[in-house]
């Protein structure tokens, strides 16, 4: 498959601070790619590097196979949706959306048609004459999206696009973005610190930590086979098992992960029990209970469906799981 964006040994420093350190990865054409990580992990810098707002200290960036080192932001075939939308406050919605076309010299009738189409696509027809400050957060978000998409970019960059929206709107917009991606078939690159957002929307996720990619893979891959305790704790709700505990279970001193829902509770003396532990708490989550167990000094979270027989606090139980769910990690990272 062709590559949309490629990073080759890319580093970016701000004075003494290293924002991105020797990162290499490739985003495939048409892919929904997410860069996930806590704040300050370098993911936003990577996006700004693609857009051209930041210059790399060393290494190369290729967009659609072309080295973009000398190409200024206004000549790159990418468009970005900013975190706080960055709409032009002195222009109305139509003028905002038409801006890119106006700059390109598209004729007025064509501009009007394209703007109407774009506003239609984000379900904001009829809002053309409003000013950005007369719109809600979700509407501004859509205008920013239309303003980028009207230029028919090959690559759309999204910088925490849903960060400022409330939970309900965020979930709705996630689905809309996903639909848009399917509809348009162009490359989406999303930056987010919300693992749920990255995992639910992206085809592949790069998890950033301290300016490097800690792991890159499909959401399922990251979830099931985290390569480090950091990934395991950052992505999803896996239990990170300490080397001491793993040593006790398997005789090998390595980090391991075990998903909460892969563990089942059995009687303390049951044959299938790999280990016994004491119930510390149980919390009702609606469709399930989250139970915290202390086994040999290791805290384990266990998810059991509501309606099962609940153990009480202080009770000793046996814990059981299938060997394939027990995932030994590569060398420890943190």
């Amino acid at each position: 498959m062709e590559s949309a964006v490629g990073f080759e040994n890319l580093s970016c420093h701000f004075g003494e601070i290293r924002a991105v350190g020797n990162v290499s990865f490739e985003v495939k054409k048409g892919e929904f790619f997410a860069m996930l990580g806590p704040s300050g992990s370098g993911k936003s810098t990577c996006l700004r590097l693609i857009a051209g707002f930041q210059k790399p200290t060393s290494g190369r960036i290729k967009i659609l196979g072309e080295d973009v080192a000398l190409i200024p932001p206004y000549r790159r075939k990418v468009n970005i949706v900013f975190q706080d939308y960055a709409l032009f406050p002195h222009m109305n919605v139509s003028e905002n959306v038409a801006y890119g076309l106006l700059i390109k010299g598209v004729s007025k009738p064509d501009r009007v048609k394209a703007v109407d189409q774009a506003l239609d696509m984000v379900r904001l027809s009829g809002y053309g004459r409003r000013k950005p400050n007369q719109l809600s957060g979700g509407q501004r978000q859509r205008v920013a999206l239309a303003r980028a998409l009207v230029n028919k970019p090959e690559i759309l960059l999204l910088d925490e696009p849903l960060g400022a929206l409330d939970l309900k709107l965020r979930e709705q917009m996630q689905e809309e973005l996903k639909d848009l991606h399917r509809e348009l078939g162009i490359t989406f690159i999303l930056v987010t610190h919300d693992q749920g957002e990255a995992m639910s929307m992206a085809d592949r996720v790069a998890v950033f930590s301290e300016g490097k990619i800690a792991q890159l893979g499909t959401p399922e891959n990251l979830y099931k086979y985290p390569q480090s305790p950091f990934i395991a704790s950052f992505v999803g709700s896996s239990n990170v098992l300490s080397p001491e505990f793993v040593d006790f279970l398997t005789g090998r001193k390595r980090w391991a992960s075990l998903r909460s829902e892969a563990i089942s509770l059995v009687g303390a003396t049951d044959e299938s029990a790999q280990v016994t532990g004491t119930i510390l708490s149980n919390i009702y989550l609606g469709s399930s209970y989250r139970i915290t167990v202390d086994a040999q000094g290791q805290r384990l979270r266990v998810l059991i469906p509501a309606g099962c027989l609940l153990p009480v606090e202080g009770e000793t139980v046996g814990l059981s799981w299938s060997g394939s769910d027990f995932h030994l990690m590569e060398d420890e990272l943190t």
Partner: protein
């Protein structure tokens, strides 16, 4: 707590202004020089006499030229300070802009009179650079020229420009500071070159600052009566007319009518600016 400052604004500021406005509707008895406290538009008619109209046109033209020149000079300075100056340089910029305001205005104007005089440094520089003919050509231009820079409208304009420049730089700089950097990046991202970005995004967003600055330079020029008296030809400006009518001549109604002129002009100016969309970004 707030009542006192608001009262100050209401009574001392607006109240005195209204008192002034009322005065302009009285008239003066031309024989006795006594003010007649009867409502009349006679004083305003007097304002439209050719000699008085001349003063108004002269002052408004000067204020317009000074304001436009101030925008042209102040914008790049403010732009530089906002976009490029950091830390110590920014502090230096503020001090450099404000410092002329800390010294006496009279001293500066007299200093300028010397600088612009025939024996002054500007003339000397032109001689040393063998450009005397350029200066002579400038001074030979009718109306704005004169015997030397210090008695020409060019000189008056230069001094106004010097004295009011900080009042233009600071509001523009404040407006530019408020332009979010991601809006500029968004413009680049949408394909606009730095030049297009400047004219389509940065300048329109800085417009409220330009308007605020121009209100200062425009109204300060309209009202000033010292600079045209020290530097320039002896022809009157609005401020001087007000000064003369209420001082020596004792014609308070005409002085009041004269001082209503800048208020009226500024009102029209703001109305036009609003209609042109200068405040849309606020």
């Amino acid at each position: 707590m707030l009542a006192l400052p608001v009262l100050w604004l209401g009574v001392v500021y607006v109240g005195s202004l209204l008192a002034l406005l009322v005065q302009s509707f009285f008239s003066i008895d031309e024989f006795t020089g006594v003010i007649q406290y009867e409502f009349t538009l006679k004083t305003y008619l007097e304002l439209l006499r050719p000699s008085n109209l001349d003063i108004i046109i002269r002052t408004v033209t000067m204020a317009t030229v000074v304001t436009v020149a101030a925008v042209v000079i102040a914008f790049p300075i403010a732009y530089y300070a906002t976009r490029y100056a950091r830390g110590k340089w920014k502090a230096f910029f503020y001090i450099a802009v404000m410092m002329p305001l800390w010294s006496s205005y009279l001293v500066k104007v007299y200093a300028w009179k010397l600088i612009l005089a025939k024996e002054g440094i500007i003339n000397w520089i032109f001689i040393k650079m063998h450009l005397t003919s350029v200066l002579e050509f400038l001074l030979a231009v009718p109306v704005i020229g004169g015997n030397s820079l210090s008695v020409s409208y060019i000189g008056t304009c230069l001094v106004f420009l010097y004295v009011w420049l900080p009042f233009m730089i600071l509001p523009i700089q404040a407006a530019l500071e408020r332009v979010p950097s991601n809006v500029i990046e968004a413009s680049y991202d949408l394909g606009a070159t730095p030049r297009q970005t400047f004219f389509r995004v940065i300048f329109p967003l800085a417009m409220p600052g330009v308007i605020a600055g121009s209100i200062f330079t425009f109204s300060l020029t309209l009202g000033d009566y010292i600079i045209p008296q020290i530097v320039g030809s002896s022809r009157l400006f609005l401020g001087q007319a007000v000064y003369l009518h209420q001082g020596t001549a004792g014609n308070i109604p005409l002085a009041a009518a004269f001082s209503v002129v800048p208020i009226f002009i500024m009102g029209c100016y703001l109305w036009l600016a609003k209609r042109a969309g200068a405040f849309d970004a606020i």
